[in-house]
Symmetry: C2
Subunit: 293 residues, 2 copies
């Protein structure tokens, strides 16, 4: 049984990116990510701090604007438009969730596709469905695919069962696994809360990817012997006064029959951030090419 | 066994739309569809003629611009921008395929989302993946769902197996069948040319939707007893000097075990056009509301 160690792999990817950034810096270009953070939601604050730290490690400059909960949609849209036109900002990230009065997707859609390093604007998501590739793929699904590929796991021809149909992971990932190249070509099943007899589907998976947001949802009897299991869940569980992170998969039990499995934490999470860095470096490179033309 | 008679249902929908259009005409608004047709590709010429005829029947005005194969991408984009700004044009349809030198998706993406009655621009397709609904759903997938719903077939909780991962049917349909309402909530599997042991998947389908573009690809032994079968295929077969249209499903054999099945022709095809009309009427209504605001 192999542990798919996203933490170590993400560190390796950061090293690769550090070299790329140092080449850019020689040309006087410092990749620059603009981050918008609204409110004080603790996990968002932590995520943004982790992203800033990872950016700093590889040499990407970050600029984080923090707004109170009462910022209006209009004010956010104006800030995004300003950054869209600012040639010194290569990538724009809006940390979700925003406050309830704000149309989150409208805010994401305002980001110009070539600065949308989170890959969540409709223009980029739409190209997951169309025949033309997007400029950026969303970070969590691409982190999952990168993790599988770098561990030498074949996706093509496999039956990938995705548990969860969210807009951040389940749905974009399902589309990406259908791509006509070695990162895709899978047969894809998407299950969710309305699926009847969900074990019938999860047990068929060669590669089982779980993003349903319920602690230990996937039990051993729901997994085929030898399956590859990717756990996207991040559930905070309180026990004896302390908080513990657990995934959507019962790791201790499922790891006994899986051929490979991601831990939580240290699996998909660090890969998501690594893909954000990769996209930001790509954004900086592309905008240099454009400026030359 | 029920024949899912798309031809008769589409005629009924056209009658409903005719009433809606007559209400609009009383307010001096005539829904108006702009159509772009490039080249002389015979099926495209026929499709456009069928669309024009259907529009005329319900009272939608059409204006078709025909261009030679040598029209440039830039010229097409300019025409679309002109129609985007033309308040008398409510919907814009670009008949595919275009000539090989043209980036088809770039042309589709140029159509403003609220005039994109074919639902194929990245902005509308992206909202199939995001949490926010698109303004228009693509016509063939929504025709399939409308056909099922109007025949009283429950989609929720069913296992829908989609054969084919094209950008016009397979992929958008798979996303739509995951929607969180009674037109979705299905468990969805997408199979395609790279799927291993495809019968294993098709035989599990409660609802089997086939859009793979191969005549009689689905044989009786690939279908579960009592399944609902939707055939999106349109294959032209020459026999004894005459041309015959056949679907992707071996209708004569599969209809012996299916509980419901669409014929070809007369199944999905007329529903696709009905959804185009529905979208165009919706576009006209929405643009009136916008003009008032």
């Amino acid at each position: 049984m192999i542990i798919l160690d996203g933490k170590t792999l993400a560190a390796k990817i950061r090293q690769e990116l550090k070299l790329e950034v140092s080449e850019l810096i020689k040309k006087n270009i410092v990749p620059h990510l603009g981050v918008i953070l609204v409110g004080e939601f603790a996990p968002s604050v932590i995520y943004v701090r982790n992203k800033e730290t990872a950016c700093a490690e590889v040499g990407i400059k970050t600029q984080t604007l923090r707004f109170n909960e009462d910022i209006t949609e209009q004010q956010l849209l104006e800030k995004i438009r300003e950054w869209n036109d600012d040639k010194t900002i290569h990538g724009i990230l809006v940390q979700m969730p925003l406050s309830k009065s704000i149309d989150e997707q409208k805010v994401l859609d305002a980001i110009k596709p070539f600065k949308d390093v989170d890959g969540l604007s409709a223009m980029n998501l739409g190209h997951l469905v169309s025949g033309k590739p997007p400029i950026f793929y969303p970070c969590t699904p691409s982190g999952i695919i990168e993790l599988l590929i770098r561990y030498g796991i074949t996706i093509e021809g496999k039956h990938c069962v995705v548990v969860g149909r969210g807009e951040l992971v389940g749905k974009p990932l399902a589309n990406m696994l259908l791509k006509k190249d070695k990162t895709g070509n899978a047969t894809v099943t998407v299950c969710h809360s309305q699926t009847q007899n969900i074990s019938n589907f999860t047990r068929q998976a060669d590669i089982l990817i779980v993003a349903i947001g319920q602690a230990k949802f996937i039990q051993k009897d729901m997994v085929k012997q030898g399956a590859i299991v990717v756990d996207v869940g991040v559930n905070r569980i309180s026990k004896n006064g302390s908080t513990k992170l657990v995934g959507d998969v019962d790791f201790d039990e499922v790891s006994k029959i899986a051929s490979a499995i991601t831990p939580v934490p240290g699996g998909v999470g660090p890969m998501t951030i690594a893909m954000l860095l990769k996209n930001t470096v790509k954004a900086a490179k592309q905008q240099i090419i454009e400026a030359k033309n």
